[in-house]
Symmetry: C2
Subunit: 408 residues, 2 copies
């Protein structure tokens, strides 16, 4: 008995596969600072927790496959803040943004169809594409260009008969780029020309910095039929474990088709939907305070890492990640070293090696994705760990393999 | 822009696709008695609801992809009641039994591989198989044989190089058959001979009637490596909306492989896992009272429907469903008629047409799956509705099409 060839070919999540090393470090009494995962330490809105405490149904019943009406109505209200007009039946609640992406791949694509995506991108998209047997066709965005949208010509050059959609994430995980109205407009024109969809994952919508304004793809009404927005409560309300996401589209056929998948899995989690309804009622100040907090953290961590000799960082404009290029041979080896062989005053750092955030081979090998979701004290310690860790790693490499690194 | 061919070929759930008719009936003020879906009206254990009320984390954080340790440990204790010895790392918590089945298909099978399954079977398995591009190969179990396991020769005749597993559900949804130790043992011998897996969905494990004893597949230790058990909290604790299920296997490679899918979707819902941990602590009397309640309901509804002229029922031994063969031309048309054109004293009945519970064409066309999860008052009304509805439907068919039905 063997496992399937496909499962054997799937990658383990680079965000999570080093967890055993982290656990081993923790067992040794080392404090591991988790920059690998976007798990904020910010409080969930108290409205959400209170709603959970007020849950008072006699039994936890199946809900509607498309999600509870109250939640979809609440989202419609919420989208108005972003100048988007959405009706409740244009929303399907999913079990996290993860399920939303899986449903959309299955709905739009047959096996071997293609979706074009700027790389680096959120690595789990690879697994969702692979389960749907969809080929991701990358267009490389570059750290030296601050990860802006590559030229439309580059996208156009990759469109084939098998292309069903272009997939963006804005604000971007992992690069922090916030796509401009112009960039979105250019892409939509291209999508119209080739009659394909634009899918935009906007789960970090709230988190734009330096006064930048966010443009939701849902505001492009003339292209309404070819737009699919992926959403999630995880980051916005610091409720990642709730697994409440959504597919939003004015295209009724997309939702009616995805409904077949939704009905098969019955419904999204019930109590978490109650929490989500309440979270939407959190005051505007909650979100604004969270945004400000992330901006402070970004400022602190980006400056700190930029000052480490040899580290290259593109200052992110949104979300709560950035990509760092380390002066080393291999970010995954460095990550293992940090967890297994290194500590600084009892601390070490875990980050996500970025190679699997690229489809193109050999790109991103020296890069990592860093999440700045922890408080500033932790981030300060993290900078020091990275600085000392890099020195130690490069010393070790020099000794063992004569590796000289990037001596700058 | 068109939807994918595959999504267009997927069936809409026969359990849920008639919901628009039910809603329209309800809008007209008609009380719809839902025999279509296994949504019990029995209380969730108060331990679970109290645990939800006691949820007191500052933020709803991501959990482990394989589920919380406390929940997996709790399940190990629970399985002891069924004489099964399971370790926490032999359990993966999933978002419902639905996700467990999807993970197992992806893990064991490549596209066009085959899984053998007795039909009729829980219809959503078809969609999970289709998303994984797995072909379900049916072996027909028959109402006249009380839906016992078809002969081992019939299974053996269907094994090919592409067969990766046999999939059972025991106690069975939709037939109510409880597979005996001998039936399981015979199948496991066959699986060993051809080096394939046996997957058993045991989510109705508690619900066996007439003093019948349940045999868990987890007790067959000599075949441990080729056994995968699917589990869920939904039915046992009347918490269908919680979406907490599990994959249980002594085969470490199965769990390690499924882990790639689990990590990509991050984690199962957090608060619902807290509820599940507490539900496992409900006293034995809770489950026993629920079991007795279902047994009473079964007795009432089965007897009632057996007395309707022309209705054939195989008395179920477990779970909370049975298959009824109606004296009509088409159970789906009859279901639409019941919801759209009929009421009796302000009531009508919704049930799940059974044709989609079969792979073999034309089987089950006159059959429906009936769930007996409602209280006896509702069930009594349901019997009367079905009796009167059948008369009215057959009169209408005779008038319109000269259809004579099965005049018995």
């Amino acid at each position: 008995m063997q496992m399937s060839k496909r499962i054997s070919s799937f990658q383990a999540s680079p965000i999570r596969r080093l967890v055993p090393y982290a656990r081993a470090a923790e067992k040794k009494g080392i404090h591991v600072i988790h920059l690998n995962i976007g798990q904020p330490d910010i409080r969930t809105p108290e409205e959400a927790i209170k709603a959970v405490h007020g849950y008072n149904e006699p039994y936890i019943a199946y809900g509607l496959s498309e999600g509870e009406p109250e939640l979809r109505e609440g989202l419609c209200e919420y989208y108005k803040k972003y100048n988007a007009t959405v009706a409740p039946d244009e929303i399907m609640i999913t079990t996290g943004g993860s399920e939303a992406l899986q449903f959309v791949f299955m709905t739009l694509c047959d096996p071997y169809d293609e979706v074009i995506i700027p790389e680096p991108f959120y690595t789990n998209v690879s697994t969702f594409a692979a389960t749907a047997m969809v080929n991701l066709v990358p267009v490389t965005s570059r750290i030296d260009d601050a990860f802006v949208l590559p030229s439309i010509e580059e996208f156009e050059a990759r469109i084939s008969k098998k292309t069903m959609a272009i997939l963006l994430c804005s604000p971007n995980n992992p690069t922090g780029h916030v796509y401009t109205r112009q960039e979105l407009s250019d892409l939509l024109q291209l999508c119209k020309k080739y009659d394909i969809f634009l899918i935009v994952d906007e789960v970090y919508r709230e988190f734009c910095y330096d006064g930048a304004k966010f443009t939701s793809v849902l505001t492009f009404e003339e292209y309404a039929d070819r737009i699919i927005c992926i959403d999630s409560f995880s980051k916005r309300f610091s409720m990642c474990g709730a697994r409440i996401g959504a597919i939003v589209s004015h295209n009724k056929e997309v939702l009616a088709s995805a409904m077949k998948l939704a009905q098969a899995r019955l419904c999204p989690p019930a109590i978490e939907q109650v929490a989500a309804v309440a979270a939407l009622k959190a005051p505007e100040e909650y979100i604004e305070a969270v945004r400000e907090e992330y901006e402070r953290r970004r400022n602190m961590l980006v400056s700190g890492i930029q000052e480490i000799p040899g580290c290259k960082v593109s200052r992110p404009k949104g979300a709560f990640y950035f990509v760092v290029d380390f002066p080393i041979d291999d970010a995954e080896k460095f990550s293992v070293f940090m967890l297994r062989d290194f500590s600084w005053e009892g601390n070490t750092v875990m980050f996500a090696p970025a190679e699997d955030f690229y489809v193109t081979k050999h790109l991103g090998k020296t890069q990592a994705r860093i999440a700045y979701v922890l408080n500033e004290d932790e981030l300060r310690k993290a900078v020091k760990c990275l600085e000392e860790g890099l020195k130690a790693y490069r010393r070790k490499c020099c000794n063992q393999q004569g590796f000289s690194g990037y001596n700058q």
